[in-house]
Each structure stands twice: as C-alpha cells, then as structure tokens.
Amino acid sequence: MRVEYINPFVEAAFNIIKEVVDSDINRGELYLKSTSQPVLGVAAIVGLAGDVEGRVLFDMNEATALKIASEMNGEEMAEFDDMAKATITELANMITAQAITKLHELGFTFDLTPPAIFTGTNMEVSDTGVEALIVPIEMSQGKMEINVAVRER
C-alpha cells in the first residue's frame, strides 16, 4: 500500500484531535498487517470507493472512547450511549473529511460512506487481498489506532 494514502489520515487525525479533544498526542510506530487483526472495542469504520477502494477504521477501547466523548461534550459521560456513539461518529467524520480533502488535492477521486460504529469484545477485522497499515496514536485519553486498508482500483 502506498504511504500517500495514509499520511493524510494521520495528519488529519492530529489536527482534529488537537482541536476538539484538547489532548497531548503522539504517534507510535506504524506497522503493516496482512492477516486479521483484533479490534479494540469501539471502531468507527468509513468505506472508500473510487480510484482507490477500501476502508479506514478508527479503533479504540471503550474507556478511551468514553473519555474522548466526555471531552468533546464538555461533561462526564458514564456509559457509551447513543450520544457517545454520535460523538465518536462525528470525530471520525471530521478526520475523514479533512483527509479526503487532502487526497482530492493530490488527485485521487473517490466517495465515502458515512461512518458506522461497531462495539463489542473479541472482534477481528480481516481484509482479503489488501494489507492494512496501522498507525497507533497516543493521547492523554488513551490509544487510538488508525487502521487503513486501501488499494488502487
């Protein structure tokens, strides 16, 4: 997978998280996975279709998701309810919108699906025929993994 696809997502995640979550943020070492990978517990998924196709996952555990949602709502949230889900969806929306704008400027054209949120334990994601590139992001609220699996059509 070409790194051009992933950089805009990482940059956008940094920008948006800094702006809306008010978090200290650091990037961990990125790694490639071609087999199935565990999903941490709360995952927002966005599909891409066009010149490039695939999907992007924003993956974190529930405690982290709850802390991020609390920060974005300006109030303590005790459970991962509909409002918390809507908040994480919006975070994924904003990051993807910024990344896509960058990718469009680079000449890639494609459409996006609205984010969907998966929650649960013991989940895995498998992508056939395409490697996933994973960028761990460390925030004061915990870890989020940006997991991108896309290929040129």
Partner: protein, 144 residues
Amino acid sequence: MKNKQDFPNINERTPDGQKPDGTSYRVLIVDDSMFVTKQISQILTSEGFDIVGTASDGQEGYEKYKEQYPNVDFVTMDITMPRMDGVTALEKIIEFDKDAKVIMISALGKQDLVKKSLLIGAKNYIVKPLDRAKVLERILMSIR
C-alpha cells in the same frame, strides 16, 4: 452611601441571542448527528437564543420550517443527511419563503455544495469542527 446602582456592571451585556426589542432570536436546527445538534443548541441557548425545533433530516427540517413559519428567525442546516440532504431542503425552504435565513453547516471538502447553497440563497456557512466563537460570529453576521 453608594448603592449598587452607582457602579457600572460589566456583566450587563446584552446576550447575542436577543433582538433589539428584547425577545430572543428563534432557531430551527437541522442535523442528523445528535452530537452536533447538542453542540449548536448549547452554544446558542447560552447566548439566549430560543431553539424552537430540531430535525434530523432535510425532509423533517423543511416540514418543521413550514409548521413554525413565521415564528422562526433562522435555520442551521447540515449538508449531508439521510432522506433529504441539506441543499435540497434549503431549496425547498427558499421556495416556500424567499426571505428565509439559512446557515449551512458543512464538513470540510464540500466547497462545491457550499457554493451551490450560497447561490440558492443560503446566508452563510460554517465549516466543522464547530467552535463557539465561529458559530456565533457567522450566525450574527447573517441575521442582524
């Protein structure tokens, strides 16, 4: 002895949501994200705006506008929504009331749709992420 009235009170600022006649501006919020709806509501109610309705898609937004008319001063309208998108809802609202004040709420990268909205008659637009200062500035610019 001096009493309280002798001192100017710095807290006596008229809230932005108040019209010159002392009543509140009335707003209809159309957005499919309950998070964004809550965010806009909190910013506006803290300044004394009156939220007269919320809708979670363009169709419902258009219907609520007709229901509330003429008791609504402006609308915040998300662009990407299920059932009916914000640009179509804007078009229908303007068709119904050519003086409607609609402010578009857009994600980044929707410049074409924002331009189209402004041509149709939207008064202004706000690009997400939303912050208090940006939301109030754009709205006040459009309604005063």
